[in-house]
């Protein structure tokens, strides 16, 4: 029965609902223009990020491609690649999908067009600034968080604008229930905000130079709590939200089990946040934190696979469509790669497996199965589905898209297999001893034997890039053949202000209707994990036993350390000797937590393309380092390390030295009061000594050169512990 009142509202009476008013239909328009902008940015940054990745890959096989130029050297190129792919390609992919799906799931236009455009241009501005500053050598030296403090602030502001726009949209919605995809968006937003802010506590020294507020073990823990959860909450949860929207849309059937999706959401965001320490197994991180990371990493299999299966099962009864529809093909492989990566992740976090895989190319293979397969293919599928819809025209060439699918898949396989091979053989070679009990292979041998694998990996990446270029061509042709439906008309009744229950309800139905409470709930869930994990390491002194002989860096060493960070040495060298027989035999005594108390930021690294440097100090004469930086193959024939010859030419800039000492003092590094006033003088005295030492070895160089600072730092590393041993031996000598 229907009745109309004077305002046009319709009253209905149904057998189950006694009497209820349904407001009249409202006309509104979806904003497709902003979706288009983010889609274009996604395509552009995909090509840029992947191209830089291919260059980085080939640089490892053919060092000549470093071009002996600071701005094109691997140490700076690699962060540009990772930042471009994560924050530019995937970031824009997230925003494209969120701006498209959020409007439709909530039956409303975005809250503010203007905020959307500020968000869009702000994010693109950050990306360009990031690329320029990273190439110029401005970096914090913390992986995936390399951007300097002004950029960090800009990221925070733009993220807040995105949040305001998203929540504004949610608040003016015409759909009472928040579909599960939106929960993932909310969880993503709040957690990324928390991670970014906590990990970006920095002490500015100048406009583009800062030091991490945390030091050593604490910095490592915060960094990998962030780093792991950047994967979790930037590369995974928003994409799961997109999966829950776009797979049902493309398959034209609802998600297999909405029940699963609820459990999936809460379990995933709760467990993920605890798993970060699995990046630091066998390091100087306290054991309890490592065990915590392992336990939660293992638990992650359940929600991850639950989500993957939920996505795949959505296609039940639609497999005939998968045969014909490239969009679904991309989705199936994306989910399969997600499943593989999320099975492999927990396995890699087992200590016995991690002992083999960590610091090797295995990790690189693992992340690329996720990045190329899960993020890449899901984004491609969404683009192929979305562009024809907003441009009101069929896809230019389905055949070309299908070819892209096969080429892309081949690219993933060709990328991953050589890297798994390389990782496994590298680990075995590192650990092999002769029957006499000495290490069988020099480190360099373990590198040169991998060069063919690096070349193959580059080819895999190149093939994947060719596929992406085909997609862009296909989509550009599609766009040219259609016309953008900038404002898409839709109709829905307004949301009645008073909520009428339709029957007995549980507490969860309550939160499903309340975005702010959902935000607070998500924040509590992720904050508890973070607090339990981080706080004890900061509060309890016994977590980081101090070592009396460990002293702050001299001003020259500090300058050298900043050059080490500027050149991105951490992208290839670790500073963490794990307590294994082979590592102790190769590098010296295993690393202790107390050795890093003055390291702002820590530089443990995550990959050993080159050897560990934690105890490089005193291993070679100064002249060796001088020649090595000039041309690595002079002293290490076959080395794939880039040349750093500009360090020999560049004058050492000491204008910030005093400020750096003061910044360190503020953060608790025990320099004598007023030491900053004599810091430059002390720096020059030490530099003169190194210069004289080099002169004795027939190398003539002025003292005020960057190479001198770099040598000072390299020769300092790991020496403090040796000093303590010598002192204790002397004390015990009768």
């Amino acid at each position: 029965m229907q009745l109309k009142d004077t305002s046009g509202n319709i009253s209905v009476q149904s057998p189950s609902i006694p009497f209820q008013q349904i407001p009249a239909l409202e006309q509104y328009y979806y904003d497709n223009k902003i979706v288009k902008a983010f889609a274009y940015a996604t395509m552009l940054w995909a090509l840029v990020g992947m191209l830089v990745g291919v260059l980085a890959a080939f640089q490892l096989a053919f060092p000549v491609l470093n071009f002996n130029y600071p701005y094109t050297t691997f140490g700076r190129i690699r962060p540009v690649h990772t930042n471009a792919v994560i924050f530019a390609f995937v970031g824009n992919g997230i925003f494209m999908g969120v701006y498209y799906s959020l409007q439709r799931l909530l039956k409303t236009r975005m809250f503010s067009d203007r905020l959307g455009w500020i968000h869009f241009w702000g994010w693109q501005g950050i990306i360009v600034t990031a690329a320029v500053t990273l190439l110029a050598g401005y970096t914090t030296g913390k992986e995936y968080a390399e951007l300097e403090w002004p950029v960090d602030i800009a990221i925070t502001l733009v993220w807040v604008i995105f949040g305001v726009n998203m929540f504004g949209t949610i608040l003016k919605r015409r759909e009472r229930h928040l579909y599960v995809a939106i929960w993932f968006y909310i969880g993503t937003w709040v957690t990324v905000a928390m991670l970014h802010i906590v990990n970006s506590f920095e002490m500015p020294v100048s406009f583009m130079k800062s030091y991490s507020w945390y030091a050593g073990v604490q910095d490592a823990l915060v960094q990998w709590w962030y780093g792991h959860n950047a994967v979790a909450f930037f590369l995974t949860t928003p994409y799961l939200g997109l999966m829950y929207y776009f797979i049902p849309k493309a398959a034209n059937r609802p998600v297999y089990s909405y029940r699963w999706s609820i459990i999936h959401f809460w379990a995933l965001i709760f467990i993920y946040i605890w798993a970060g320490p699995h990046h630091l197994l066998y390091t100087a991180l306290p054991d309890w934190a490592q065990s915590l990371g392992v336990a939660f990493s293992l638990m992650l299999i359940l929600p991850s696979w639950g989500g993957m299966l939920n996505g795949l099962m959505t296609l039940r009864g639609a497999w005939d469509k998968v045969r014909e529809e490239p969009v679904l093909k991309f989705f199936v492989v994306a989910l399969t790669c997600y499943g593989m990566a999320t099975f492999e992740g927990p396995m890699l976090s087992l200590k016995s497996v991690n002992a083999i895989t960590h610091f090797t190319d295995w990790t690189v293979a693992h992340v690329h199965v996720g990045a190329l397969g899960w993020n890449g293919f899901l984004t491609f599928g969404i683009l192929y589905w979305l562009i024809p819809r907003i441009f009101q025209t069929p896809l230019y060439s389905k055949k070309m898209a299908t070819n892209h699918f096969w080429i892309g898949t081949l690219g993933i396989v060709l990328y991953a297999v050589p890297m798994y091979w390389a990782g496994f053989s590298q680990a075995l070679m590192w650990k092999e001893f002769t029957p006499e009990g000495t290490l069988k292979y020099q480190f360099l041998e373990t590198v040169t034997s991998l060069v063919p694998m690096y070349a193959l990996r580059g080819i895999g990446g190149l093939i994947y890039l060719v596929g992406a270029i085909m997609m862009v061509v296909n989509l550009v042709k599609t766009i040219k053949g259609g016309k953008l439906l900038a404002n898409e008309a839709a109709q829905a009744p307004a949301l009645p202000k008073a909520y009428v229950k339709t029957g007995k309800e549980s507490w969860h139905s309550w939160i499903e209707r309340r975005p702010v409470q959902m935000l607070v709930g998500s924040l509590i869930v992720v904050a508890i994990g973070g607090i339990i994990e981080l706080v004890p390491t900061f509060l309890i002194k016994s977590n980081i036993p101090t070592i009396a002989s460990v002293k702050p860096y001299t001003p020259l060493e500090l300058e050298g350390r900043d050059l080490y960070i500027r050149e991105g040495c951490y992208t290839c060298h670790s500073q963490m000797i794990r307590p294994f027989r082979d590592e102790v035999a190769r590098y010296g005594e295993y690393s202790k937590a107390g050795e890093f108390v003055y390291d702002h930021p820590f530089q443990w690294g995550s990959k050993r393309t080159g050897p560990d440097l934690a105890r490089i100090g005193g291993k070679y004469p100064d002249s060796w380092h001088y020649n090595h930086m000039l041309k690595p193959t002079l002293v290490s024939p076959g080395s794939i390390m880039p040349q750093y010859s500009w360090l020999l030419d560049n004058d050492l800039d000491t204008t910030l030295t005093a400020g750096k000492i003061r910044a360190m003092q503020t953060m608790g590094v025990p320099y004598e009061p007023g030491y900053h006033k004599i810091a430059v003088k002390e720096l020059l005295t030490q530099a003169e000594k190194i210069k004289e030492g080099l002169a004795k070895e027939k190398i003539k160089t002025p003292a005020r050169k960057e190479i001198i600072a770099m040598i000072a730092y390299l020769q300092r590393m790991g020496k403090d512990i040796k000093g303590e041993k010598a002192a204790s031996t002397a004390a015990n000598t009768p």
Partner: protein
Amino acid sequence: MKFINYLQDITGVSIFPLASLLLFFTFFVGATWFVFRTPKKVMEQIGNIPLEQ
């Protein structure tokens, strides 16, 4: 050294892990209970939201 050795130095810290464990256990039991208690029809309706537009 075990986790507890570090934690016991914080005054009243023992309530933290216990409370969080209890909170999440209750939460997950509640969520599971809700998920299986909610009528299939309601779940289907909600699951169909993306297909409405």
